[in-house]
Structure formats: C-alpha cells, structure tokens
C-alpha cells in the first residue's frame, strides 16, 4: 500500500522519535510512505475566521503534490497537521467559493480529490488491528497505558470523523492489539491546554494536573499520544505538579503510539 506522507515541522525536530518510529513500523508492515518533496509548515491551526485565505495555501499545495505523485492518500502524524489538512480538504470539497478563490490564487484546479488520513487510521483500516496483533513479536502484556486523545484528532465533530468525539476507542483497540492494557479514565479527551503553555502556563499546568491525576488514579503507568504539543504539555508540568502532590508515584512517561508499535514489533 502506497501513500504520500506529510511530516510537518515538529516531526523533523522535537518529535523526531515520532517520525522515526512511524517510518520504521510502516516499513515493517509493508506500507510505502513517500515524503512529498516540497512542503511548508501547515500553519499548525486551522483558520477559524472567514476573511483570509492565505492559511489554506500550504495544505492545498501539499495535497496537490500528492495528486501529482499519482497517490490518492496523504498520511499525517502530528494531530495538528491532521486537523489542518482534513478540515482544509473538506472545505475545498464543500465550499465552492473558497475553492474558486484558492485555485485562482494558486493557478490550480484542486477539487479535494486526495483523502487525508492519520497513520492511526491507516493501521486500523488498511492494515487492520487484527493483522497487527498477528505480527507483534513482543506483546506488551501487563503494560497499563492511558490513551490520551486530546482535541485535534477528534474535534470539531462535524469535520473530523476519526472516531466518536465523546468516547473514542481507536487508541484502546490499537493498544489491545499490541497486548497492552488500555486504562479507562474520564479525562482522555479533555484539552491539555494546547498553546496556552506558551503564554498562560498556570492554566495549561492546571489542565494537565487534572488529566494526570485522572490517569494515575485509574492505574495508568504511562500516556500514549499522537500530538507533539500534548506530549510537551503532559511532560513539562509533571515535575512541579509532582512537587505539589501527595502522590509520590505521580510520574507518567509520555509515548507516541508509534513508539509502542515499534517496541511490539521488536524494531
């Protein structure tokens, strides 16, 4: 199975481990991910205002490159990129006026032909979690992991259709295929504070504290994420929350889901 691949800025730097393990596991599973040749930052956030179109150009250029390469699917890893690409593609498909403006500016004719998929979706729909379970060499038996979805993979409900917004299960099913135990806890989709950690740390820290406590009290030993910013927030405030907490064990490492897949496939 062949795909175009869009890494995004963080995957080449702070989240290198995410990219490395995604690419090595894809190879082991017989998936061909080809990085598109020229890409820019996707903008990190989908524009929420109606009066600018510049933010759409970078994702549309990447989608055009996917089409030019003869591929019909573009794979993303970072939850931020996934959100931007999926929503942009949907907007181009459904909003004729926006599509006309973007194409007029870029002198192109993109109609939304390419499908935007997250690597997690590729694993679920194209490889199959059952097939992954058969390929696992080192089962993660006894590992109690807290799937943390965050926001960008799932929301808004009307535009992202990865999974149920209130009670998603794709991460749980993935972890079960690796032999691990997916910890059930109520804060798995609660926002980690996102970019508030760049300007309002006390708000982000408190948001993280509630997620951390919830996962810890339900027996989690670590978090599993798909977003570099979620990982940063969950990791960054742990030491000070730990200092303020009565629970001496309150220290949960944060893994990208691909790191666990690589471990289970013994790569």
């Amino acid at each position: 199975m062949r795909y175009s691949y869009y890494p995004g800025c963080t995957l080449k730097t702070r989240a290198k481990a995410y990219e490395d393990t995604a690419l090595s596991t894809a190879k082991a599973l017989g998936l061909s991910l080809t990085e598109i040749k020229e890409w820019q930052c996707c903008g990190a956030l989908y524009p929420l205002n109606t009066d600018e179109i510049f933010s759409f150009f970078s994702p549309v250029r990447a989608l055009l490159q996917t089409r030019a390469a003869g591929e019909d699917k573009l794979v993303t890893l970072c939850a931020g990129c996934y959100n931007v690409f999926k929503r942009t593609n949907k907007a181009v498909r459904e909003d004729g006026e926006l599509r006309r403006k973007i194409n007029a500016y870029l002198e192109e004719d993109y109609m939304g032909e390419v499908d935007v998929v997250h690597y997690l979706e590729v694993l679920k729909n194209d490889v199959g979690f059952g097939s992954i379970a058969e390929k696992v060499k080192k089962r993660l038996t006894g590992r109690k992991l807290a799937p943390y979805y965050g926001c960008l993979l799932l929301k808004p409900r009307a535009e992202m259709d990865l999974d149920d917004v209130e009670n998603p299960t794709i991460f749980e099913n993935f972890l079960n295929a690796l032999g691990a135990t997916a910890v059930s806890y109520p804060y798995k989709t609660e926002c980690c504070g996102s970019y508030l950690s760049m300007a309002n740390e006390e708000i982000a820290s408190a948001a993280v504290g509630r997620i951390l406590n919830s996962a810890y009290k339900n027996g989690a030993e670590a978090f599993v994420v798909a977003c570099p910013l979620c990982k940063y927030n969950l990791e960054e405030y742990q030491s000070e929350l730990l200092a303020a907490s009565k629970d001496p064990q309150l220290k949960l490492p944060v893994f990208y889901f691909t790191e666990l897949l690589a471990e289970a496939l013994a790569l």
């Binding site: 995004g8 800025c9 963080t10 730097t13 702070r14 989240a15 930052c41 903008g43 990190a44 956030l45 929420l48 205002n49 109606t50 009066d51 970072c78 931020g80 926001c151 929301k155 808004p156 409900r157 009307a158 917004v165 989709t189 609660e190 926002c191 504070g193 996102s194 970019y195 508030l196 950690s197 760049m198 300007a199 309002n200 740390e201 006390e202 708000i203 408190a206 948001a207 977003c227 570099p228 910013l229 990982k231 940063y232 960054e236």
Partner: protein, 134 residues
C-alpha cells in the same frame, strides 16, 4: 430592566458575525458550552456569556475580557452545541479585532517562558503566535 439601545455597538457586532461566520442570535443560553469547557475556571466571561454579551451588542466589554486569551480553541463546546454555534470562531473574531489593530499583540517572543525556549515543539510556537499576534 431598562434597555439602553445607544450602548449597542452594531458595527462591531456585524464585524464579529461576518468574520466568524456565526449568528450569535442562534444561541438560546443552555450553558452546555460553559458546563464542559476545560478552562472555564480561568475565564472572567464564561462561553455562554460571551454569546449573551454579543447578542446584547456589548462587544466593547468582550474586547476587554480575559476569556479571549484563555480559550484554547479545543472545540469541545461547539461539538456539543445544540444550536450549532461555533463559539471558538466567535472568540477568534473578537481576538482578531484586537490583534489587527496596531499594538494589539498579546504575546511577544521576549515574553515566552524560559522552558518554552528550551523544549517547546514548533507546533506550539506557531499555534501561539497565530492566536496571540499578527
């Protein structure tokens, strides 16, 4: 209650509705947005109140609200809204009214927390400066 019509800033209200693409009059104040907002405790005007203020034309008051900079656009509220009002878009429009004015930036690179310079993912920096500066 005395209704004072002179206070309503129709121009700003029209701008908010145009930039956000949302009709603030659609909100019937059920409060589901504020009930589920993960950072509501840090806000001075709660999400459902943002829409009420906007309905009443009290946009100038909203422009002085801390809430604009606390909303993380996580989209929990609009995914639950029974009237399909995209509140993060309304808040975005209010933020843009400030940011698009000279001197309106909320965040300057010199103000970033020290640990951000060390460890922050690019995704976080790009996100923050798209939300907090122009």
């Amino acid at each position: 209650m005395k209704v004072i019509t002179e206070k309503i800033n129709y121009n700003l209200l029209r701008e908010v509705e145009e930039v956000s693409g949302q009709k603030v009059s659609a909100c019937f104040q059920c409060g589901k947005c504020s009930g589920g907002c993960p950072v509501v405790w840090g806000m001075d005007v709660l999400p459902h109140q943002v829409l009420r203020y906007a309905q009443l034309g009290l946009v100038d008051e909203l422009l002085h609200s801390k809430t604009l900079w606390i909303c993380a656009s996580c989209q929990t509220c609009d995914s639950r809204c029974p009237r399909n009002v995209d509140i993060p878009k309304v808040i975005e429009a209010l933020r843009l009214i400030i940011l698009r004015n000279k001197g309106g930036n909320y965040l300057h690179p010199n103000d970033l927390p020290a640990r951000v310079r060390e460890n922050a993912p690019q995704q976080g920096l790009v996100s923050a400066f798209r939300k907090y500066a122009k």
